[in-house]
Symmetry: C2
Subunit: 349 residues, 2 copies
């Protein structure tokens, strides 16, 4: 009996192996190129003003973030996990204006905004003006995945965080010497301008926008399943007042993702990014006008320049092509090249 | 001498008159057709459930708003003045979920959002989660015109209002019997659902969205100078929690204006309007794909339906063409026809 079955078993095993290989090949064929692009803020960033040691700190941290995210994607992880992990690293560093390194408001508090968007479902989560959240991007993800809402603001957002089991942190956690000095400096500058409190549009933009004391961190990732996720996190503008909300938590402005087109994270003068709907505009130029991700990104940065705003974007399309245009003197930025090597850049050239 | 000059003077007068007429004709030729379209919210609005008296109240108030705005435009006023005046009328009425008629949050407070956008400059102003502002659309206009910012939230926005000389009102002002009953009813419904507090996406949308206790007011106007302005104001969702912000204060989502294309004001499931960037998408379909305002508006409402959201939009292009598509059983809406007569509609047919 056993002897008659043996060849049959062998045949089944052979056929099984064949289909298994075929299936694997199919999956490999349908798996997408993985890709990551990140930024740590754009602004007046000049090599002449940057201490070598400081530059190294930025380069090292951006490299660490890229390597961490790339490992997740390489191991078959999802773009949302990669984006969250990367932004967490930048939020936990005092170098960038997000999380730990968040700038101070006029009142001496830290108020952070963040958002995340999933290009597959167009689901999104955003938080605005949170004060006790160590990693605002993680709370934004929670809003997307655990609530029916897209955007939660202020105390309400923190109440939601607590109900979801997230630990709040004391405002002391965000207090860094560098950011505190920046606030004092700007308050001092403003007090010398007699019309400082009037906030007259154009004539008197708040000082926060004219130096390095603002900024944002962001990441767009593409996983092997073809899903694009974009995330953005910020501490806003130094010396901001009146509960100002910038573009970072605004879906379609400072953050956007759509598997059909691209993912976008922006950094710069938030007001202009909102008025131009920067993220959605780049996506629509690709979808409706057939532009490449590079053409669309540059087109919208040109619109930003024309309208009088400064800043930059990082973008990534469904084939892994990236763009990183900006109209300032520098933007902390990086991506993984064809060979899986991190490339980090800071200045214009 | 005088006799020789006389015919010359006559000739000059004649030629002068001719050019004066020509100039006038030219100005008339270059002045745009004025137009207005308004909404007072979309949702489950069925003739069978509507008392005749109530229907008349809605029709009268929408007609009053249209007439007021039209008079401003007819007299050569600007679209921004018309939009503010129209929305003020709807905010001051307890019929609509905005200003006086704002719904209650879970905590029994009233938290309002509003935004306004100028299609000529792409300037915009927005306020979120304000509690003591009688006319949030007027504060949004103030943010646009008197600050460098686009969006202010919560207490900060109210502080700005006070600095600008705007009187705050007590929360008592917004307390209406009808809205209070709606809150109790929904809290009662939710308490019967054991998972009500988890706010699980899809499986358990907050009750606020499933009946008439949400809504928005909005207006788009075109003045004789060719400027399109869009404004939107809302009390959000009954029983809303966690500082939820909807689409009404999000530029490009629930409100958008661009002189090159159109103005848009939306009403419905705010979360879906944010994810689809409804306002900007309609504008981009016109600008980048050459759609008419009717085609673009319907296309985006179809996307909304496909994604699972409900609601509607009012839109108006630079030639005064309007569209008012929605996917609910009704939407309070109105416009001025070719002869300057108000047309008000409520139900699907």
């Amino acid at each position: 009996m056993m002897q008659r079955i043996r060849p049959l078993v062998a045949m089944f095993l052979l056929v099984g192996c064949f289909f298994y290989q075929l299936l694997n090949a199919q999956i490999a064929d349908h798996s997408y190129k993985i890709a990551i692009v990140i930024h740590g803020g754009a602004g007046t960033i000049l090599k002449a003003n940057m201490a070598l040691e400081m530059e190294k700190e930025y380069r090292d941290k951006l490299t660490e973030a890229l390597n961490t995210g790339y490992k997740i994607l390489k191991d078959g992880g999802t773009s949302i996990d990669a984006v969250e992990a990367i932004i967490n690293i930048m939020e936990d560093s005092p170098l960038f204006n997000a999380g730990k390194g968040a700038v101070f408001t006029h009142e001496g508090t830290n108020e952070m905004d963040a958002s995340i968007m999933d290009g597959r479902t167009l689901n999104a989560g955003a938080v605005a003006a949170v004060k006790h959240i160590k990693n605002p991007i993680s709370l934004a993800r929670m809003v997307m995945e655990k609530s029916w809402h897209v955007m939660l603001a202020g105390d309400g957002a923190e109440k939601f965080a607590q109900e979801q089991g997230m630990q709040l942190v004391d405002q002391e956690y965000f207090k860094t010497e560098r950011r505190w000095k920046q606030l004092q400096q700007i308050i001092n500058q403003d007090s010398k301008r007699d019309d400082s409190l009037k906030l007259e549009r154009k004539k008197n933009p708040p000082s926060g926008k004219t130096n390095d004391s603002h900024g944002t961190v962001g990441c767009v990732a593409l996983d092997k399943f073809g899903n694009i996720v974009a995330g953005t996190s910020t501490g806003g503008m130094t010396n901001k007042r009146f509960g100002r909300v910038g573009d970072s938590p605004i879906i379609g402005a400072g953050n956007y993702a759509n598997n059909n087109t691209c993912g976008v994270s922006g950094t710069g003068d938030g007001e202009y990014f909102i008025r131009l709907n920067v993220g959605k505009d780049i996506s629509d130029l690709m979808e409706y006008k057939g532009m490449t991700v590079k053409e669309a990104s540059q087109t919208v940065i040109d619109k930003l320049t024309k309208l009088g705003g400064t800043g930059g974007v990082i973008t990534l399309d469904k084939d892994g092509n990236i763009a990183m245009p900006f109209n300032t003197s520098g933007m902390y930025r990086g991506y993984m090249d064809e060979n899986g090597k991190p490339v980090v850049e800071i200045y214009k050239e």
